[in-house]
């Protein structure tokens, strides 16, 4: 079943065509990696899916509903969750509070604006997610005082607490150590059992390990798409990106 269908999506900044004529589909339950050289338009592309950047043309369908006109926060409620490339946690709040903000939104989604989910249910939800990413022991620590790798995990935890149907991870392993990357990959696989994942990633080992399929972008356009093996063998990709 197709979860996300993007057709002819485009965006230009001034005279620069950041993304042009992108057609893209994502199957339910898939882990998809988007790769491409810097400036290929990867972040602009996923930003249009998450609603942070308005497209200048084309349309986006999520679960067979046209969401092109929805605001970013409305898309989150539909299940499209974006985790930031540059870590964006609430530095002055505790880990618990950070995740509680996400969980509170998820649990209270169907309540009217002035009502909120019960505290006990919230605590359970928050602690379950913190446990999953391995930060439960640090729940009272301030997010800004966590090590960088832990901040990235907290960022993912906030995404998880929203119970995403499509989780967009924008360069999640950037700045992580080897051992942290191994843990991270295990976590993403685990998340992948319950959600569809769209991953922008530069680390090819991570891409090869996680992705079911790979989409290659270059100069704002789709260059190639296929299984990891197909992409590795693709001459165009090698020329544009892998450099061999």
């Amino acid at each position: 079943m197709t979860l996300l269908a993007v057709s002819n999506l485009a965006r230009s900044f001034g005279g620069i065509q950041a993304v042009a004529d992108m057609n893209f589909t994502l199957e339910n339950g898939e882990i998809r990696a988007i790769i491409g050289p810097n400036g290929a338009g990867k972040t602009t592309f996923v930003s249009m899916i998450s609603g942070r950047v308005e497209p200048s043309g084309g349309s986006i369908c999520f679960d067979d509903i046209d969401i092109t006109g929805l605001r970013s926060w409305e898309r989150v409620r539909q299940g499209i969750v974006y985790t930031f490339q540059i870590t964006s946690v609430y530095r002055n709040l505790s880990c618990f509070e950070n995740v509680a903000l996400a969980a509170q939104q998820q649990l209270g989604r169907d309540l009217p604006f002035w009502r909120h989910p019960p505290r006990a249910a919230l605590t359970v939800a928050v602690e379950m997610v913190l446990e999953k990413v391995g930060l439960l022991a640090r729940k009272t620590e301030l997010a800004g005082e966590l090590a960088y790798g832990h901040q990235r995990l907290l960022e993912v935890a906030m995404g998880l607490a929203l119970q995403p149907r499509l989780l967009i991870l924008d360069e999640p392993t950037q700045g992580l150590s080897e051992s942290e990357i191994a843990n991270f990959c295990a976590l993403v696989k685990e998340i992948g059992r319950g959600a569809t994942i769209l991953l922008i990633e530069h680390n090819m080992d991570v891409v090869m390990e996680l992705a079911h399929r790979i989409t290659v972008m270059s100069n704002g356009r789709l260059l190639a798409e296929g299984t990891p093996a197909e992409i590795m063998a693709n001459i165009d990709v090698q020329r544009a990106y892998l450099g061999t």
Binding site: W73, V89, Y90, Q105, F113, H116
Partner: protein, 321 residues
Amino acid sequence: MTPALRARRILLLHGGLALLLLLCQFVLPDYHHTNFVSIMVLAVYALGYNLLVGYTGLLSLGHAMFFAAGLYGAGMGVHYFAWNPVVAFIAGAAAGLFLAVLVGLVALRTSGVAFMIVTMMFAQAAFLTTLYFNDVTHGDEGLTLTQAARSFALFGTVIDLTNPAIRYNLAWLLLAGALAVMLLVVLSPAGRVLIAIRENEERTRMLGYDVRRYKLAALGVSGLLSGAAGAAYVLFFGYVGSSFAAIPYSIYPLLWVLLGGVGTVAGPVIGTLLMFYLIEIARDYSSSYMIVVGAILLVLVLFFPKGIIGSWRARGQGWIP
């Protein structure tokens, strides 16, 4: 710290502060007794201002319009339509709420410096309106409400708002109510979202929150408290004039909140009290006391940005809301 212990400490701090203010009426000499009525009413204004500036991260430079909306809403009603003071108070508070939502629908399209300028412009327009309709408002000169107009019957007893004891206790009741409202809002899940907006607006939007709606609600409650303070002020002191709508009354609450602690519940009350007396003292020495106000503002922003309660909280007292 367990939630129960935190709740007890919060109750102790804010209940204690309120109780102290209640008991002050028995020891204060007449002059300061009246000052404290002013301070408590203005503290409600500061509390309302702080909800927006301290908890939502929106710096308004035009809150005088909401204070004045309450002042004029209640004052004009009593003067021209002989409204019962209770009705006038409710009308004044509602005027603050209404104006805040109206201004918010436009001003909240901006943020940061633009928001400061837009709110200041709206407030100037409101100030000039009070001058323009000089025939009705009597502009700078203002209007005085009679003693008769400021008393009302409640369950058969006459309540006279010019009576110092009644005035003091009603002002205290208003402040205690405003403190309770602030605690309820700030400690609620909605308060958590407001703080999140202050800390990182884009992140909060990407958690699925309709940020503009929360901001509008915060501005509405802020306007309501400011309007309630304005309405109480005119009913307690019987005077309404344009000076309350002018720029200084937009800057004072910023000063009170900065001194007491921006983004703390108790801070604005302490800040209003101290600043009121600092200005009193400065006024004794010079007629250009606004220079002192400006100097204090500079010192606070440069060297003491967390204010009194904020600095206390930063010293390991993270439980303070």
